[in-house]
Each structure stands twice: as C-alpha cells, then as structure tokens.
C-alpha cells in the first residue's frame, strides 16, 4: 500500500447529479476531486483534460456506461486507473468493466472513508476487491481446475511483471488465490488475511493482482455460467 504524500486527484463519472454531489461531499478532504462528468463523452474529455490519478466510474450509464469510457481512454491514456462504482449486482456488468481494465469494484453504499481508502489503494497500483466482487470472481472461475500447483507461489509473489503465458494457467485460480478471494468474500481486510494465512500483506496484494490479471487476460470469456445464462443481454 503505497500512500502518496499528496491526495490523489480524482475524476468522478456518474450520470446522477445527486450521487455525484453526495460522493463529492463525502470525499471532501480525503481525496482531491478535480472534475466530474455525467456522460461518456464528457467523461472522456474531462479525464483527458484533468489527467487524474484515479477515475471513479459508474458502471451503468447511457451510451455504454463505464465500459465505454475505459475502452475509449485506455488506448490514449493507459496511465489512468479506474475504480468501478456501482449499485449493480449484475455480475456480468461488473466483470466486463474489470476485464476492460478497471482496478477494482465497490458498491455505492460504501462509506466515504472506505471509498477514499479504496481510491488510495487503486492509486497505489493495487486491486480493490469488495466481498461481492470476490464472490463474482470465484463464481466466474468456478469449475475450472486449479492451475499448475507447483511454482505458483513464486510466480504470484514474484510480482506483476511475469504474465502467465498459458491459457490453462489463466483459466484457473491457484489454491492460494482461491483462499485469498474466499477471505475477501468473508469480509476480511488484506492485513487480516495476511495475518490469518501467515503471509505478508504485500503477498496478499500480489495474489489479488494476479487474479485481476487472470480475469483481464483469460481467453475464457465464457468465464461465467451467468454469461451463458444471460445470452439475451447483449454483451459485446
């Protein structure tokens, strides 16, 4: 958890005026909200102009929602980090935004201090998994066999650089990753997970980042049973 001395600069994207005002008020003094936007086009323009550290992004918006914002910005501005913010429980929406490049997902009922903490963690390069997201991910990877038991520890702890090259490796979670995700789903903080599993907090974060990477890189787009169940919802 690298906390930068200055407050992270944040742009808030949500189509509900009232909600933006509420979040602004809650984050006041905790992070530096440098701009907000109500539409996809506005968001793209604002983010390119303000160059924030973190974008708080609503998943459901007209014209493609958070997904579209990420899609348009990642090619031109790969440095900006996204934290998805949603009232949605629709797993496929959330997973789609994460796959597109968001570093985390929190629900809109989150408290101001927790949100600020999540922003700081995303800013520091970590992934932010809410219990619900952890549940979605476990569900998404359900049924897939754990990848290569040997050497996973080193690969996962070794760092962000080593991208798994085999699809098989991307398609499953290692037992340790599952364990970490289960603890997140059970409501444990990273520090508590580290304590319980007897590993360092850094290692916990490395596991979570590895899961995030698998989620984003896995070719198993049919990753989820709900994706199959809900074919009728158009999911591009």
């Amino acid at each position: 958890m690298s906390v930068s001395p200055a407050m992270p600069r944040v742009v808030l994207v949500d189509d509900h005026e009232l909600f933006r005002a509420g979040v602004r008020a809650e984050l006041d003094g905790l992070v530096d909200v440098v701009g907000d936007a109500a539409t996809v086009a506005q968001a793209v323009a604002t983010i390119r102009e303000c160059e924030p550290d973190v974008v708080l992004l609503d998943v459901q918006m007209p014209d493609g929602g958070g997904l579209e914002v990420i899609r348009q910005l990642v090619p031109v501005d790969p440095g900006v980090r996204f934290l998805a913010l949603s009232v949605s429980d629709a797993a496929e929406d959330v997973i789609a935004v994460i796959r597109a490049g968001a570093r985390g997902y929190v629900t809109k009922t989150i408290s101001g201090t927790e949100l600020a903490d999540a922003v700081r963690r995303v800013h520091g390069g970590d992934a932010v998994f809410s219990p619900r997201l952890a549940g979605f991910v476990l569900d998404a990877f359900a049924g897939s066999s754990p990848a290569r038991p040997g050497g996973r520890e080193a690969a996962a702890a070794g760092g962000r650089g080593s991208i798994p090259d085999h699809d098989a490796e991307l398609d499953g979670l290692t037992p340790r990753e599952r364990e970490v995700l289960q603890h997140i789903a059970r409501g444990y903080m990273y520090k508590e997970i580290a304590h319980r599993l007897g590993i360092s907090a850094k290692t916990v974060e490395a596991h979570v980042s590895a899961v995030l990477r698998k989620l984003q890189l896995s070719s198993r787009h049919e990753l989820s049973r709900w994706a199959v169940q809900r074919r009728m919802l158009d999911e591009s």
Partner: protein
C-alpha cells in the same frame, strides 16, 4: 409399370387417395401416365396409348404430357402427406391451366392456325412461367418443403400464390420466383400477339394493360413496403408496451409501496433504513431474474438471503450475503441454514452494530457458510456452558447433522463462525 394399388409405396393411396402425382418409380418417361392411372384407377398402358395417339394425330398429346410433367408434383417415397389438401388445390389449378391451354390449342387448330413458332414459343413461355408460378416448392427439387405447414387453397391469383408459398421457402425467393413466372407469361402473351399479327389491335390493349400493371406496381409497392414495416414496428411496440406494463406493475407493488411507507415513517431513521434495505434486496432479486425454483424447494443462497433479511429487519443491522454456487437443501442443509441464522443473530446482537458479512460456498464436496462480524470478539473457550445460542443451536446442530462448526475470534478483530457440511454422504 403394373397398375397395382397395393404396390403403392408407403400406402400413400390409403392415406391420401385424392392426390394426383407423377409416379416416377412406375413410370416410363415422367411417370405421368402411371400417376394418372393410379389416381383414375385405370391401366396406365391405356393412358399411354391415348397420349401416343393424340401426339401422332396432332401433337396435342405431347404438349399435354409435357405440361402434366411440369405441373404435377412427383411422388416422394416416405414424404409427409400433411400437405395433401394444399397440394391438391395446386394440382387442381395446374390441371385447370393445362386443360385450358389444351382447349385453346384445339380451338386454334380448328381455326386452321398451324402449330408454328407462333404458337409453340408462347406456349413454352406460358408453360414455363405457369409452372414457376404454380409449381410448388414441395417438389423433389426443393427439400425445404419436407414439412410444409397447412396452406390456404389457391384462388388462382399470384398474390395468393405468394401467401401460400411463403411457408415453404423464404419470402424473397418466392417473390422472385413468382416475378419470373409472371414475366414469362406476359412475355408469352406479347410474343404471341406480336407473331400472330392478326391480333395487332390487341397489342395496344396488352401494352396498355402492361403499362397499367407496371404503374400500379410502382404506385402500390411503397405502400406495400410501408405496410410491412409498420406491421413489424407495431408488433415491436406491442411487445415493448407489454414489458413496460409488467415493470410498472412490479414497481407499483413494491417500490411505490415502500416509498409511501418511507414517507410515513420519515421520523424514524432506523425504520427508513430497514425499509430501504428490504426494498433494495427485493428489487435486486427481481432484476437479477432469480431462477424460478419449484415451489417447496429450498436453495442455499435464497434461504440465506431470506434469513439475512429477517435478521436485518429484526435488529436493524445490515447483513450482506455473498454466495458462490448454489445447492438444493436437504435436511442437513436446512440445519446448516438454521445454524447460519443463529450465527447471524449472534453477530447482529453482539457484533457492535456493524455490518455482518455472510459468505456461502457450495462446492461439489461441501457446503460452507461463514458469518462474520466486526464486534469486540470473544474467547470461545470463555463462553459459559449455559449460552445455548452458540453451543447448542450452532455447534450442536451442525454436529448432529454430520457437519461441524468452528468459531474464529480474535480480540478486536471480530468474530467469525464457520459452518461446514460435507456433501456426498448418503
């Protein structure tokens, strides 16, 4: 070759006795005589003689034969007989056309017109065009009509043919087929009138008629297209409005009622929060389209959700349930739910008012439920023996049903109850 009703393949004569078809298996050339013979219950040899004689005499027999060959559908061994009535109508009309032509031919012959290009080419065109219009895709050439739906009897006008034939093949294919047929017939008429010369005056009439037909086509085509699109739009609109009505009905029953309650109890923040939570939970399950289970069946995730809702309402503490996988509940499963409910209750009572996290995982080997709060935490060993809540309703209940319960607690770090039920035990 031998006219034998009993030898009809598949007993077709019994199921559809009035069908007139070419019998290709029993025929010599096109199966026309064999088919006719079968239908009329006469020896096809007799018919063959008639055809041969008329051919030799004037050529009429040949023309009639060719027409019949084109117009009559071939008999298909093993084909469905469902389309019998529809096809019969076609056959009748086709036969009518054939006989009409025959009559015209004979009349012309009586008038002393020679069978020259004058008559043959238009006739060929008419025959081809007519065949295109009337000949159904049910023939062997188009297997698409293997299971043709019932069709309305043809009235003899091309639009009716369009309607009737759409079922068997795609609409554009039918339209182009009909179009070519109509063009051929019209061309035949023009060619004939052109060649004959004797009917020069009729050329103008025909031309006028043609122009009129084209003009009418140009006038009505856009209207027709508009009609089609407006019909489609209307249908889509109807579906949309039905959906809207459904959503409106649901919102009325749930959200509006809750909002009314919230307004009434605006002075009680706890009640308002509880109402909002309950409505949120209910709306979520509706939006996510929770799978319809058979009534009476209980499933893990849903049972935990409803237990959580109960605790939330009773104690004003948020209980968040995250479930991975799902399982139908048996007796032991119900015990697991009961223990989980008790654990939630404990967490709500002694968890310091913070949110309670419930995590359930249904794997192939075991069901696991974790209930966690962020309260003061307690030492499991220090729980007095008379605290039935933990000892009896959680640990004891799980053990009685072949499961186990563990309580992880650390001072300051909250309490977590872990419930495990192994599956696959008979």
């Amino acid at each position: 070759m031998i006219p034998d009703m009993a030898a009809t393949p598949g007993g077709r004569a019994a199921t559809a006795p009035r069908d007139l078809r070419r019998d290709r298996d029993g025929g010599m050339v096109g199966g026309v005589c064999a088919g006719l013979g079968k239908r009329l219950q006469v020896d096809p040899l007799l018919l063959r003689i008639v055809f041969a004689a008329t051919t030799l005499a004037s050529g009429v027999g040949l023309v009639a034969y060719v027409l019949a060959w084109i117009l009559l559908p071939a008999e298909q061994a093993g084909a469905a007989t469902k389309s019998g009535s529809g096809r019969r109508a076609t056959v009748e009309v086709a036969l009518g056309v054939g006989f009409l032509l025959l009559a015209i031919l004979l009349a012309f012959r009586e008038l002393g017109l020679p069978f020259s290009d004058l008559l043959i080419w238009p006739l060929l065109l008419v025959a081809a065009g007519g065949a295109l219009i009337w000949h159904r895709s049910t023939d062997t050439a188009a297997p698409a009509a293997a299971v043709p739906p019932p069709r309305a009897a043809l009235t003899g006008s091309p639009p009716a043919a369009v309607e009737g034939a759409t079922a068997g093949e795609s609409r554009p294919a039918v339209i182009s087929r009909i179009g070519i047929g109509v063009t051929l017939v019209i061309a035949a008429a023009i060619v004939f009138l052109q060649f004959s010369g004797a009917l020069a005056a009729a050329t103008d009439v025909a031309l006028a008629a043609l122009v009129a037909v084209i003009a009418l086509g140009v006038i009505f085509a856009p209207w027709f297209v508009r009609l089609l699109t407006s019909l489609a739009a209307e249908r889509a609109e109807r579906i949309r409005s039905q959906e809207r009505a459904e959503v409106a009905a649901h919102l009325h029953d749930s959200v509006l009622q809750t909002l009314a309650l919230v307004q009434k109890r605006a002075g009680d923040p706890r009640a308002v929060a509880a109402l909002a939570r309950r409505q949120e939970r209910e709306l979520r399950s509706w939006l996510s389209g929770a799978p319809a289970r058979e009534t009476g069946e209980r499933w893990l995730a849903a049972a935990l959700e409803s237990a959580a809702q109960e605790i939330e309402e009773g104690h004003g503490v948020a209980v968040d349930v995250v479930a991975v996988g799902d399982a139908r509940l048996d007796r032991a499963g119900e015990a697991l739910i009961g223990a989980a409910r008790e654990a939630m209750l404990n967490a709500a009572k002694f968890g310091g008012g913070g949110a309670v996290a419930v995590y359930a995982e249904a794997g192939d080997e075991r069901l696991q439920v974790f209930v966690r709060d962020r309260g003061q935490g307690f030492d499991p060993a220090a729980v007095p023996a008379d605290r039935r809540g933990v000892r009896e309703s959680i640990v004891g209940r799980m053990e009685r049903h072949g499961g186990r319960a563990a309580i992880h607690a650390s001072p300051g770090g909250g309490t977590e109850v872990e419930l495990v039920l192994e599956r696959g035990t008979p």
